[in-house]
Structure formats: structure tokens, C-alpha cells
């Protein structure tokens, strides 16, 4: 663990309607590292991601991005440095793919149209959507939508990207193309924090796996260790359950 992680999360707590969803979560994310967060549903994984960029501000604890505390003051400039990929894609319905990727570059980063277009074209090529620039989101498949939303995040040149169950809304035959894009990103050195049960990604591209349950981190470690000989009985139980699901599915 270095002294200068890109993201430092310390004792983050969050209560929703009287239920403590996050009960003190702490971890670091190093530059270029990709971590995957797994755990049963309702365990606070998505809430954790939303606490990092204050889409859902934590009740207590701290989040430090590249040495700067994430707080309401100046939040827009901080969010611009944190990519966020949603389960439901959340592309802008009324804008073509190219404009989806250009809008925040121009509106938030103040880039010129030419510069924003150049970056958008680069990232859309990277995710394999160069032939869909003029399409509207409703004309894309689920996998294409998610790849467009990844390009939208990448074009902002973020310091890291948070992925909130990026393949959960996709048909099984479409998850592969999104997972491939994510693997390529991880291999290219993008810093990523991924909430997902995509074992393919976890095994091939994650540097570390975080297992969460009941609002706390139960254990974390490299996939080779955590998947083969987890320390906690609860972790192995959960892993058995999801590998089972995947085999049956």
C-alpha cells in the first residue's frame, strides 16, 4: 500500500430510513489498480459507490481523491474527475451517441467543440462504436448503450471510474462485449472500482477483490487468494452460491 493512493475511503457510514447501510467502510485504491466489490444484494455496494462522488453523501467518514477531500464545495469539479458507469446506462435519450459523449466535456470541462469531438471519437473507437456516432440511445442494443456510457465517462479523462453493476441490466449474450471493454481498460492501466458479480472480469482483470456483507468489508485480497482459499466461511459460502448461479445460468 502506497502513501499516496488515488482514492482513500475512511470509515464511511450511511443510514437510509433508519437502516445503517454502510457501517464504516475503509479501503484504498492505488493508481492503475482495479478492484472489484462483490457481496449479496442489499449490502451497500452501490451505496458505497454513490458515497464516493457524493451522489449520496455519507453521514460520516471521509473520501479523499488524489489528496483532496471530496466535499460539497466544488463537488462538480471533483465529480468530473470520477467516471461513473450506471447499471441502467442513463444515456441522454434525446442526444445522439456523439453528443452524449461531447456534452459534459463542453459544459463541465469547457472544451471547444473540436476538442470534445476529437476526444469523443477516440473513446467511441476504443469501445467499438465508431459506426454509431449518429444513433440515438433508443436505437442501440443494451451492450452498445453500456459501451457508449463507458466512452462518455472516459472522454472526461477521469482519474478513476466507478462501475455500478455494469452488466446486470444486460442479456447474458451481451455482457461479454462490455466485460471485454472493461478488461481492456484495466489492462491499459485505468483505475477502476467495479461493483459486479462478473467472475470473468474479476479473475482476468481485477487486482483485488473486496467482499462486502451487511455494510462492512468482510475481507479483501487478490482474486487468486480470495477465490481459492478465502479466510471467512461467509465468503466461501457466497462464492459457492454465485459460481453455482453462473454455471446454471
Amino acid at each position: 500500500m502506497s502513501d499516496n493512493p488515488i482514492l482513500r475511503v475512511r470509515d464511511v457510514r450511511k443510514t437510509y430510513g433508519g437502516v445503517e447501510v454502510l457501517k464504516g467502510v475503509s479501503f484504498d485504491l492505488e493508481r492503475g489498480q482495479s478492484k472489484i466489490v462483490i457481496g449479496p444484494s442489499g449490502t451497500g455496494k452501490s451505496t458505497l459507490l454513490r458515497c464516493i462522488n457524493l451522489l449520496s453523501p455519507p453521514d460520516s467518514g471521509s473520501v479523499i481523491l488524489d489528496g483532496v477531500t471530496v466535499e460539497e464545495r466544488g463537488i462538480n469539479q471533483i465529480r468530473a474527475q470520477i467516471g461513473f458507469v450506471f447499471q441502467e446506462f442513463n444515456l441522454f435519450t434525446h442526444l445522439r451517441v456523439l453528443d452524449n459523449v461531447r456534452l459534459a466535456q463542453r459544459n463541465v470541462l469547457g472544451r471547444s467543440k473540436r476538442e470534445a469531438t476529437k476526444r469523443a471519437l477516440e473513446e467511441l473507437e476504443r469501445v467499438g462504436l465508431s459506426d454509431k456516432l449518429e444513433a440515438y440511445p433508443a436505437e442501440l442494443s443494451g451492450g452498445q448503450k453500456q459501451r457508449a456510457s463507458i466512452a462518455r465517462a472516459l472522454a472526461m479523462d477521469p482519474k478513476l471510474i466507478l462501475f455500478d453493476e455494469p452488466t446486470s441490466a444486460l442479456d447474458p449474450e451481451l455482457t461479454g462485449e462490455v466485460v471485454q471493454v472493461m478488461k481492456d481498460l484495466a489492462n491499459a492501466g485505468m483505475t477502476m472500482l467495479v461493483v459486479s458479480h462478473e467472475m470473468g472480469f474479476a479473475k482476468a482483470a481485477a487486482d483485488e477483490v473486496i467482499f462486502m456483507e451487511g455494510g462492512v468489508i468482510v475481507e479483501q485480497g487478490p482474486p487468486s487468494t480470495l477465490f481459492t482459499c478465502p479466510e471467512h466461511a461467509r465468503t466461501s459460502q457466497f462464492l459457492r452460491m454465485i459460481t453455482h448461479e453462473h454455471e446454471e445460468g
Binding site: 465529480r79 468530473a80 461513473f84 441502467e88 442513463n90 440511445p137 436505437e139
Partner: protein, 224 residues
């Protein structure tokens, strides 16, 4: 002959119609700007702003338009002399504001919240997200319901005749009193004129709706 007189008087009817259309344009424009503002306030505003929008809507949707016209012309006109036309624009325009605010509020609330969240996650401000994401979609969806408002307000302009705006209906009543009868014929012509303007306006709005439709989405007639 009544028809000779009608032909001779037709320019007056046209002039009346022109006044009516100007009144319509002015009151709809006022209602659009203020109604959209109220709608944004009622969805995104502080509770004091939301309370204001509710009170405003209750008042202006709860009073008959003819009473509003009289209140504005004779009431406010006491303190601050208003021309009949201006009084009609204010009375009908503020009432239209209340109705249009409801149209826009509904369509604003129909825009997927996830898209606003995505915009905020990219670093866009709240206002930026409303301006670039919510309003372009909400306004497209408002065109259909807005045709109702257009039709209703076109007909409401005829009420301005009670405070002395010389619009189409008032021109017609002048002609009727000159002709001493033939009321039916004159008002049939007037009815046809309102009908044509209503149809033209609605045809234009439907064309706009089709032109702005986002491809891939089911629009009017897409499923038939």
C-alpha cells in the same frame, strides 16, 4: 343583401381576428415563460418556492377567465391604467401560466431521474442538468398536451370583448348591430374563422411534434 354587407365588412372581421391572434400569441408567450419557470420551481425549488407555485396555480385555475378579465381591467386598472389589450394579456396570460405550469411539471417529472443523476455524476450543475437534459426532453413531451392549451386560449381570446378589446367577436357584434339581424350568418362566419385558426395552429404543433421526435421512440401513430 347580407352577403354584400358581409363582404364589405370582412376586412373588419380580419382586423378583429388579427387582434385576437396577437392577444393569443402574447398570452401564450407569457404563459410559456412563466409557466415553465413555475414548473421548474415546483419540481426543483426550495419549499417556499413550491408553496408559491401552489398558491399561484390555485388562484389562477380557480377563477373564471371572464372574472379575471374584469378584475384586471377594472381592479388593477383603478391603480394603474391598463389598456384593454394589456389587461387581457395579463389576465389570460397569468391564467395560462397556471395551466401551462401543470403541463410542464408533468413532462419534467416524466424525464428519467437516472439521466439527471448521470449528468450530475459527470460534474454538471443542477441547472446545467435541467437545461441540457430535462428541458429538451420535457418540452418535446409537452407539445401534445400543449395543443389543448392553444385551442382553449384561442377561444378564450373571444372573452376579451367584455373589457372592450376589439377582437373578432366584438367586430362581429358591431356588424350584427349594423345589419339589424342576420346574427346566425355573421356568427357562422366568425365560427369558421376561429375553427380555421385552431386547425392551422394544431396542424403546425403536430408537425413540430413529429419533427422533434427522437428516433427509436414510439411517437404519435408509430404503433398503428
Amino acid at each position: 343583401m347580407v352577403f354584400d354587407t358581409l363582404v364589405a365588412e370582412f376586412p373588419f372581421l380580419l382586423r378583429g381576428l388579427w387582434i385576437g391572434v396577437q392577444l393569443l400569441a402574447a398570452l401564450l408567450a407569457l404563459g410559456f415563460v412563466l409557466g415553465l419557470t413555475l414548473a421548474v420551481m415546483s419540481v426543483y425549488g426550495h419549499w417556499t418556492l413550491r408553496l408559491f407555485t401552489v398558491v399561484f396555480e390555485r388562484i389562477f385555475r380557480g377563477i373564471p377567465e371572464i372574472v379575471l378579465l374584469l378584475l384586471f381591467f377594472y381592479g388593477i386598472g383603478e391603480l394603474l391604467p391598463l389598456s384593454p389589450f394589456l389587461a387581457a394579456v395579463l389576465a389570460l396570460g397569468l391564467r395560462s401560466t397556471a395551466y401551462q405550469a401543470q403541463i410542464f411539471r408533468g413532462s419534467i417529472q416524466s424525464v428519467a431521474g437516472g439521466e439527471v443523476m448521470a449528468a450530475r455524476a459527470l460534474g454538471m450543475s443542477r441547472l446545467g442538468a435541467i437545461w441540457h437534459i430535462v428541458l429538451p426532453q420535457a418540452l418535446r413531451r409537452s407539445i401534445g398536451p400543449w395543443t389543448n392549451e392553444y385551442s382553449a386560449e384561442l377561444k378564450a381570446t373571444s372573452l376579451a370583448y367584455v373589457i372592450g378589446v376589439v377582437e373578432l367577436t366584438r367586430q362581429a357584434s358591431y356588424i350584427v348591430s349594423n345589419l339589424q339581424g342576420n346574427t346566425l350568418t355573421v356568427f357562422a362566419v366568425v365560427a369558421a374563422m376561429y375553427f380555421v385558426v385552431n386547425r392551422l395552429g394544431n396542424a403546425g404543433l403536430y408537425a413540430l411534434e413529429r419533427k422533434l421526435a427522437v428516433p427509436g421512440f414510439e411517437g404519435r401513430g408509430a404503433s398503428s
